[in-house]
């Protein structure tokens, strides 16, 4: 898993490339910790190149969502594929996020 963070006009764009399985999620958790603190603006989770997500990955999304809620930020999930969409569906995440 590779994670890229870019600041754009829209806000912070976090690009996930590859599989976000449990070990990857543990790593990503550390990489993204600063984002949780400063989730005041718009955070876009770009999942175009993400091929897989496990519950640990979903947890990161949820944690981000929660801290954004607290701090008045906004989290947008962008470009999820069908498989991941079904995972979102199964877990009710489709309702929790603004999906683009």
């Amino acid at each position: 898993m590779e994670i890229k963070i870019n600041k754009t006009e829209e806000g912070k764009v976090v690009e996930f490339i590859g599989r976000l399985d449990t070990p990857a999620a543990l790593e990503a958790n550390e990489t993204l910790a600063p984002l949780f603190e400063g989730a005041t603006g718009t955070t876009i989770l770009d999942c175009e190149k993400m091929t897989y997500i496990s519950s640990s990955g979903l947890r990161i999304f949820l944690t981000l969502r929660k801290s954004a809620l607290q701090k008045g930020g906004k989290v947008i999930v962008r470009s999820i594929n069908d498989d991941i969409r079904s995972v979102f569906l199964m877990t009710g995440f489709l309702n929790l996020f603004e999906i683009q």
Binding site: R19, D21, T22, P23, A24, L26, T51, Y52, I53, S54, S55, S56, L58, R59, L62, T63, R65, K66, L69, D82, D83, S86, V87, M90, T91, G92, N95, L96
Partner: protein, 732 residues
Amino acid sequence: MKLQTPIMRKSVWTSILLVLFAALIIEVSSLFQYFYAIKGLKSEASLRAEGELENTRIQISDVLDQAEAALRNNLWIARWCLDHPDSLEAVTRRIIEDNPVVVGSTVALVPGYYKRNPLLAPYSYRNLDTGEILTKSLATPEYDYPSHEWFSKALTREPGCWSEPYVDEGGGEMLMTTFSMPVKDDSGKTAAILTVDVSLDWLTSMFGDVKVYPSAFSVMASSSGRIMVCPVQSFVMKKTIQDIIDSLEDKAAFDTLSRDMLSGKSGSRLVRYKGKKEYVYFAPVERTGWSMSIVIPEDEIYSDIRKLGWRVRLLQLLGLFMLFFIIRFVARNQLKYNNLTEKKNLMENELKIASDIQMSMIPSSQSPFSDRHDFDMAAALFPAREVGGDLYDYFIRAGKLFFCIGDVSGKGVPASLVMAVTRSLFRTVSSHEDSPGRIVQIMNNSMSEMNKNSLFVTFFCGILDLATGQLRYCNAGHNTPVFLSATKHLLDVVPNLPLGVVYDMSFQEQEIMMYDDDAIFLYTDGLTEAENKDHDLFGEKRMMSVLSTRRTAEDLIETMKKNVNVFVGQAPQSDDLTMLFIHYLNGDLPRSNVPHIVLRNEVSQVSRLAGFVEGVAQECGMDPSTEMGINLALEEIVTNVIMYAYPKGTEGFAEIKVRTRDNAVDFEVSDSGKPFDPTAMPEVDISLGAEERKIGGLGIHLARKIMDAISYERKNDKNILTLTKKLNNHGN
């Protein structure tokens, strides 16, 4: 000692040859020297002899001159006194008085010159004892002076003549010679003969005593060959040279010599007398026709050089003798040195053999168990010298792979002997012991008992149960092996003391589970401490980077060695290098029927699932979405086991076995952790908003959603969760 005899013989012969060569050079130069010295001595001898002859001649001439002068000076008085016969006696007396060389003088009248006094010869002579001048008459019938040579010969010789030497028995009673001259009267008629006698006794003592060399002697002969001076006193005036020559064997040589001498020649001759060579130098006394000669034995001329020659030769011999010993000493050392080289070669040969033996003691390094599918292993040992102190060994007994690696302190032959002992002990002890701790302990006791040279061995012993993957091991101060699973890390080891240090010490044994695809890499410090020419070490970092590439065991060992070689470059190998790699494949479970994976309780293991599921999916012809779903469901279950089934810090595993049926696949996930039934977990409310949603619990929810059935059972202290997925694309 056997080797020394040919050396000594060889050195003796070499020395003799060299000494002979030196002797030849010395001899040739000595001969030259001798030749020139001889020549010099010969010319010196002739100079000395000729000098003496000349000296003698001068003295004789001097005396003869004085005598002749005395006579001539008184000739006119004698003539004047012819008319006064009575005064003739006074004339003779006067001659003697005035001339010390003259010992006698007479005026002998020609018979019949005086009518009344037919014979008249008054003779004055010096009494040599008293110096008194006595007078007597020679005109006695007994003496008969007209018959004497000095008288008769002088009658016809105007200028006077010297008589043959004679012993004047009636006159002076001594060896003498007489100079006679005729005295003529006024009419020119010879009236009388005036004589002066010269004693030759002084000649005998003077010339006879000439000793140019100790054994040299002088001979003087008159013109008729009568001996005048000679070392044999009885020959004097009694014998002639001819008489002596006649008594010799080698007459011919002496004949020419005597002829030359008597004919007034001078020169030198080498003659042989009684087997000895003698040089004869001769010269005449002109006026009298006498011949002087000096005889020098050749031996004496050369005696000095011959004496010197012997001394020099003795010294040379001594020198050559010393030279011989010096050369032999040097040659021997040289040969010994050569022999050392031979010995060195011999030793190298022996070391080569020792090396071969040592190498044959350890098992073959390549694909030792190529027929087995449950593990892949390779090993290699590279001694720094011909023989080394590293070792490894392995064998299979009762379904268990016994293996060990060790490093004897030190290098070379001493270390290699301890290595051999260690390896034998390992084989012996492990043939009946199944516990690595016990094996190491027994080996330690044996080795500390006999360890007098304080050589110790760092040692690692492992026993891998090939059926279960259980690895029990004991580390005795050896480099910590690397354990390769999904991650690679150093094996957890208790740092026990090396073997052979303390007697009766217990060694702590440890245990770890090896799962499919796990591997263990063992090595000696020759690997991490391989030095390049700048004394940098190969180090763990480089080793680890090679280990992170997955290869076959054999390839991995080869690659590692290549990397070391490249790093070390031209620097000499500093220490023995040994590596052992065991790749556990757990293939003794039937492979094709039951896809199967064992994951250790480490989160990183989860990543292995993707590949495993992919394989199952291919076999079952699943679509990618189903495959991903199954991967996700299994990951959630396994993650739970890994994170929560075992107490923190303990080893555990989760095993997944796959059973395919006609229209479904069963995944059996088992673990031996604390009892836990996921199916009993309450459902997660997914309708809640973000604020209310709890973090966690989603995993089991996903598994439930994805899978068609989940069942749990606790059996043999194991949690067994079976997840079933129906295959709706059956038949595709």
